[in-house]
Symmetry: C2
Subunit: 437 residues, 2 copies
């Protein structure tokens, strides 16, 4: 990733996320990562994301500096109707031009308000102001239009400055419809446009991967490899450019798939839940889940996937022992003898979910997410997983490090998804499962 970035001619970009609320900790900036990933696929390397407050003069100075260096500068946010929204003023100041009223944009704003039975305020008039010479980018999801202006870098070469609204639901369609086509036309050098292939793995850590794939990781190698770990999933990326790039990338993905055959999640979907839903669907199988320590997060991850209803039958969040018995039919005897966090109970929960719902597969989680409830025998981080099919039930026990309740729950969700995925593939032997206790 970075290897290709640094060897290429300087088609670099910077992103500026504007808003006091971002510095106040209200929420993370989601636009920088999204824009960086999209622009990378066009061959434009985002080198720096700046998050700054609503200060017109400071922003103008920053934009002036960035436009002197980068072929593309994109701002997000600060295009609203209030005096705090200073991006259009700062952009005009950075470019040394005036703001001009744009009548078609004003008409659109008036029409949008009329549609909602309201009248625009004086503040909304600001939203029809654009730096002289700007191309207006329409906003079909909100009142704030964006714009794109040509710039001149310090070396005299041309560039672009684009300003987009802050809400990702408005920024993304505007970038796709208005900004990226302009970037492609004005800035993209086709021979520098990268070809990217991806492969995601489960059940291998970054350092073990590096030991097994060392020869591919040298930054001088073509394709260039990127590795990124996300809650137990390792996402590998192979990037190449120029003649034969597609063939080189495909060949490397095939090699990786062969070397890590027992670990491959997918080359299409990075997320375990998307892969699981797709493979359940292809196999014509239905799934039910019974959750204790993950408390609904496993069902939530599955039903995040559009179309999950075709394969997801039912979820049971059975926190209390009493509910494990009454809802899932876990024998009270098992709970008394082994405790709720145990292989026999995990197996019984998985069987209960399957039988109560009529699904083909039942998956269960029971563990100690913390911060309280741990013991010497059953410490915080211990999670037992169950998987039931028509052939019976198996379990898998893991002890996650004490990384906090939220991460333990997230890892447990991922492990449960992987268990189900390997079961659908009929390859449970590749995981460290235990026969039913």
């Amino acid at each position: 990733m970075s290897g290709s970035r640094r060897s290429a001619p300087r088609q670099s970009a910077a992103i500026v996320a504007v808003g006091d609320e971002l510095l106040g900790g209200a929420h993370p900036d989601l636009n920088g990562p999204w824009l960086a990933a999209e622009l990378e696929e066009l061959g434009i390397a985002v080198e720096h994301v700046h998050v700054v407050g609503d200060d017109e003069l400071a922003l103008a100075e920053l934009l002036r500096e960035l436009c002197a260096v980068h072929v593309l500068v994109v701002t997000s946010g600060g295009l609203g109707p209030t005096p705090d929204d200073v991006t259009r003023h700062a952009a005009a100041r950075a470019l040394g031009v005036e703001l001009e009223h744009h009548e078609p944009s004003w008409s659109s704003i008036v029409a949008l308000f009329a549609e909602r039975g309201r009248v625009p305020t004086d503040g909304n008039r600001r939203q029809a102001l654009f730096p002289a010479g700007a191309t207006v980018l329409e906003n079909d999801r909100g009142t704030a239009p964006g714009f794109v202006c040509t710039t001149e870098r310090a070396d005299g070469s041309p560039g672009l400055l684009a300003s987009l609204p802050g809400p990702p639901g408005e920024l993304q369609p505007m970038a796709r419809a208005g900004l990226f086509p302009r970037v492609t036309k004005d800035l993209v050098v086709e021979s520098e446009r990268p070809v990217v292939g991806r492969l995601s793995l489960w059940g291998i850590g970054e350092s073990d991967f590096a030991a097994a794939a060392g020869d591919w990781l040298d930054r001088a190698t073509d394709p260039v490899m990127g590795v990124c770990a996300r809650a137990g999933v390792l996402v590998l990326k192979a990037t190449s450019k120029g003649d034969g790039a597609r063939a080189r990338v495909d060949a490397r993905i095939d090699e990786m798939r062969a070397r890590f055959a027992s670990r491959v999640v997918s080359s299409d979907h990075a997320e375990l839940e998307e892969t699981l839903v797709a493979e359940l669907r292809a196999a014509g199988l239905k799934l039910a889940v019974a959750e204790s320590c993950t408390g609904g997060r496993l069902a939530g991850a599955l039903t995040d996937v559009p179309g999950a209803s075709a394969v997801f039958e039912a979820g049971f969040v059975t926190y209390a022992d009493r509910i494990k018995s009454s809802v899932l039919g876990v024998p009270e005897e098992l709970l008394r003898t082994h405790g709720a966090v145990s292989a026999p109970v995990a197996a019984a929960m998985a069987r209960g979910a399957r039988e109560r719902s009529g699904a083909d597969l039942g998956v269960s989680t029971t563990g100690v997410a913390g911060p309280d409830g741990g013991s010497a025998e059953k410490p915080v981080g211990l999670v037992v997983f169950g998987l039931a099919t028509a052939d019976g039930a198996v379990t898998l026990t893991r002890r996650f490090p004490a990384v906090g309740r939220e991460r333990i729950r997230r890892y447990a969700v991922q492990q449960a998804l992987a268990l189900a995925l390997w079961a659908v593939r009929g390859r449970l032997a590749e995981l460290d499962i235990q026969p039913e206790a």
Copy 2:
């Protein structure tokens, strides 16, 4: 917020999030917003968050520039064992000092690996290197220790440069245990330390709030007000400094509480789920949920709260109509006549969750999250909520705008939590509920 920031003497800070994966779009930077919010409470204003790649020389140059200006510079990430992890090298370079081996840190790393049945790699040796003169910050959740160094600003005044690991689960405890006490000791001017009060509201938009609270929003007013909207919850913040600050802030919070009495979520917990768990606990009540369109996210939000097991009985994720009948006892007749997204079905689901679990309250969601499944009569974004108690069931119907599956599900979870909270308070009349159909 920004008003107070700009009027204060220059106790400014910058944050640098380091990692190619952040620019590759793998995930947003969560550390910048968290650190900015925490430092603001200490009276240190974060003016700029930088997100940059793993480039040692560029990072060293950036850190040198920032340390010349700011009283505090904090980096996150790039402290791992691989050659890509360049933060400690860049920090030493920026400070003009050598890296030195720190034996106690190395012993801790060896011990941590031994605990996990493993042996550290040569790469891990890098993790025991620190800029000369640094104070090591221990990491009890991972292998990467952090560090803090003294700096000298361009005007000769002293400052701090701190480097923390990237995972928020490691960064946050390290910042709390090691960095913030040092910042308080070395940098905080007590008279500049702000007093902050908070109040969160449900069911009022930003513009309606501004109209009702206009006299408090002027930046010249003391306390200074900050407003931030988060998935339907409006978080208000009142900030003041100097003599009598606590009294001024408390008085303003009391005024806000009085003016928005029917909308108040909490002045202790910003999140609806934390407030709901606390108030269920105080009332000695237990809750069960039945979810269709939210698919486990409602149960997941509740069980994110440590100690939720004291009040959360059971969750039922009933996606298919067949499961709504077999698991929750929703009459098939109701599903046929009214459809799954209807007030009678929402009420029956809530009753079913309550009765099947023996809880005091049952809450349900059923709706069209999209992207498919919408119709003219029941469009994407339509969600019906049910609430059952010993006294019977009520429902509430909302139509969320078409902002995408993920946001519709998030808003629906928030509305369900608010419905339950107002029920616990015996104040359902303040919401727009409907008697059972």
